[in-house]
Amino acid sequence: MLRSLAALLLLTTAAAADTADGQALKAMTWDQIVEEARGGTVNWFMWGGADNINAYVSGYVADRLKSDYDITLNRVPITDAAEIVNLVLTEKEAGVTDAGTVDLIWINGENFRSMKQADLAFCGYTDLFPNNTLVNWDNPAIANDFGVPVDGCEVPWNTVQFAFAHDSATLVDPPRDMAGLLAWIKANPGRFTYPAPPDFTGSVFVRHVFYHAAGGPDALLGPFDQARFDAVAAKTWAILNEIEPFLWREGRTYPTTVTQLNELFANGEVAFTFNYDPAQFGIAVQAGIYPETVRSYGLADGTIGNTNYTLIPFNSPNKAAAMVLQNLLLSGEAQLEKAKAEVWGAAPAIEIGRTSPQVQAGFAAIEAHPSVVPAAELAKAALPELQADWLTAIEAGWTANVGN
C-alpha cells in the first residue's frame, strides 16, 4: 500500500526520445523525422465538447498513428484554446523552453495571433511534409488565419463557413439575407438573439451585421483603419440597438455562449441558431438535441468563412511526433474520414483534386446530413474574415455601445 502510494507520488511523465530541438528537425529528411518520432507520444490539446470529434481523433487518428508510426496520441480535452495559449505563455515566462506540456493545439484566429506575436509557435517546417503538396497555400483563405499570415507556423485542418439553422417544421421560409433577417426580427419579437461577444460565434454574427452596415467587406479588408471603423461601427451599433427590444427577453440580456443559444433553439424559445461549423447542426440532430426537421442555409449576401489549424508550440518536447500527426491529419484518407457525415462532416482543408482517385471517389460519394447545408452551396457566397485587430475593436465596441 505505502509502496504503491510512494510510486504514485513519484510518478511523473516519462520522456521518450526528446525532439524539442526544432532546428535540428528542420535539417532532417522526412524519413529521419518519422524515425525520431517512432515510439513516442504526442499530447494534443483540443476542444473536447463534441463526442464524435473526440471519437474520430481518439479512434481513427490515434489508431492509424499507433499502427503506422507506433506513436501514442494523448488527446487532452479543453474548453477554450485561450487557456492553453496562456499555459504556453506562462511556461515561456518561467523559462521552460524545451519541456513544454503541449505538443499540438487546435487553434485559429485571435489565439493564433497571440501565439505568433509572442513567439510561442514552432514555424517553418511544413515543406517537409509529404502531404504538404495537398495544401493550396496560394489560397489566401488558407495562407491567412483571420488576416494574419500563417507563415508556416500552423497547418490547416478544416475549413468552415458560417450558416444559420432553423426548424423547418415551425419556420418554413426563413429570411435569406441580412436585411430580411433584421426585418424578420422586428416582425417576430422575442424569437431571435445572439451570444454576446467576445463569444466566438456571437462575435462572428456581429461581424455579419458590420459587413451589412458597410455595404460589403471590401472596404474593411487589410490593416485596421480607425476612421473607417468609426464610420461603419456607428451604423452597426444603431442597427443592433434598434433590434435590441425585439430580441429574446427584450434584449435585456444576451446568451453568453453559443451553447446557451443552442439550448434556447433546441427548446424552441428562439427560431434561429447559427454556427461557424454547419456540421455541428448535423451532430446535434444525431445526438437528439435538435429535431430532425432542422435545416441550415447561408445568406444571399454571403457568410464568413475561415480555416482552422493545428499548431506546435515552440517548447514542445515531442515535435517530431507532432509533425507526423499533422502530416497524417492532412492525408487524403484522414480528411475523407472526417468529411463523412456520420463521422463529423467537416469540410477538408486540402485540395480534393490533388488526392488519389480513390480518395476523390470517396469525397464524391459522401452524402451530406440533411440538416447540414453543403459546403459547396455555402461557398457560392463566401465572405472573408477580417484581421484580428478589427475583431477586437468590434468586440470592444459592442460591449461599450450595445451590451452595456
Binding site: G49, T79, I289
Partner: protein, 268 residues
C-alpha cells in the same frame, strides 16, 4: 406526533432536497433529446452511457486518476494534519493565532487567485503537469480542513491517557495505535472524508497545475457541460457522484457512531 417521527420527516425532506437535483441528470443520461415543453424525453437511448463507459471517452481512466489523487492527497494531509492538529489543539504557543489564520487562509482565498502564481512556482520546480504537482496543489485547500478538524479533536483530548500507557511500558507506536488513534478516530475519519471530497471536486487547480495532462473527472465533465451535451454530462455526473456517496455510506456509521439516521428511522 412523536419526536422520532419528526426526525424521520426532516430526514426524508433533507434527503429529497439533496437527491431531487440529481433526478434530471439521471433522466438526461438516458434521453435522446429532451426538449421543452416535453415533460419526459420522447426517446431513450443508451448512447451517452455507451460513450461514457467506452475506452475512447477516457471517463473510466480519469475516474481512477481522480481516485488515486484524492486518496494520495488524503493520506498526505493526514500525515501533516495529525502533528499539526495536535500542536494546535493541545498547546498554547506564541503566534498561535497567526498560524491558525495562515492555515485557514487557503480555504478562504479563491483558487483562481492563487492558481496562476502557483503555476509559475510549480513550473520552476518542475512540478507542473505531473501527478505529484497536482497532489501538492490539492493539499493547499485540503490541509486546513484536516488540521482544524484534528485540532478540535485534540482540544478535547487528554494526554494523561498517553502518559498512563507509557508508564505501563507502551512504545510510542503502541501508544498511538491503542490510545491516541481510537480517541481521535472519528475526527480523523471526518477529516479524511473532507480531504477526499475537497480533492475529488477540484477543477481549477487540477486544470492549471496539471496542465491538462492530469485528466481528472471534473475536467472531463466540464468539457461536455460547456459544450451543451446534457446526455453525456448526465452520465459522467452520475459516475462522478457515485464514489462520494459510497464513501459516505461506509463511513456514516462511524462518524455518527450509529447507523445512518434515515435507515434507523425507517427501522421498526
Amino acid at each position: 406526533m412523536t419526536v422520532a417521527r419528526l426526525q424521520l420527516m426532516a430526514g426524508v425532506v433533507l434527503a429529497a432536497a439533496l437527491i431531487a437535483p440529481l433526478v434530471p441528470l439521471a433522466i438526461w443520461s438516458f434521453a435522446h433529446g429532451w426538449r421543452f415543453p416535453d415533460l419526459m424525453p420522447r426517446q431513450y437511448s443508451l448512447a451517452a452511457w455507451t460513450f461514457a463507459l467506452s475506452a475512447q471517452s477516457g471517463v473510466l481512466s480519469s475516474l481512477w486518476t481522480t481516485f488515486a489523487i484524492a486518496g494520495a492527497t488524503t493520506v498526505v494531509a493526514a500525515v501533516i494534519g495529525l502533528p499539526a492538529g495536535r500542536a494546535l489543539g493541545l498547546y498554547d504557543f506564541p503566534g498561535k493565532r497567526i498560524v491558525l489564520l495562515l492555515l485557514i487562509a487557503p480555504a478562504l482565498v479563491p483558487a483562481i487567485a492563487i492558481a496562476p502564481g502557483l503555476h509559475a512556482v510549480f513550473l520552476h520546480l518542475g512540478l507542473s503537469a505531473s501527478w505529484t504537482g497536482v497532489v501538492l496543489a490539492h493539499l493547499i485547500p485540503v490541509i486546513p480542513y484536516m488540521t482544524l478538524i484534528l485540532a478540535a479533536a485534540f482540544a478535547r483530548f487528554d494526554p494523561v491517557h498517553e502518559d498512563q500507557a507509557r508508564s505501563l511500558g507502551a512504545r510510542p507506536w503502541q501508544v498511538f495505535r491503542h490510545i491516541t488513534l481510537p480517541m481521535i478516530g472519528p475526527s480523523l475519519l471526518i477529516g479524511s472524508l473532507f480531504a477526499f471530497l475537497v480533492s475529488w471536486s477540484q477543477y481549477l487547480l487540477t486544470l492549471v497545475i496539471g496542465g491538462g495532462k492530469v485528466q481528472t473527472l471534473p475536467l472531463t465533465l466540464y468539457s461536455f457541460a460547456a459544450a451543451g451535451r446534457n446526455d453525456i454530462t448526465g452520465a459522467i455526473a452520475l459516475i462522478y457522484i457515485l464514489p462520494g456517496v459510497v464513501v459516505l455510506i461506509f463511513t456514516a456509521r462511524r462518524i455518527t457512531g450509529r447507523h445512518p439516521s434515515l435507515a434507523r428511522g425507517l427501522a421498526p
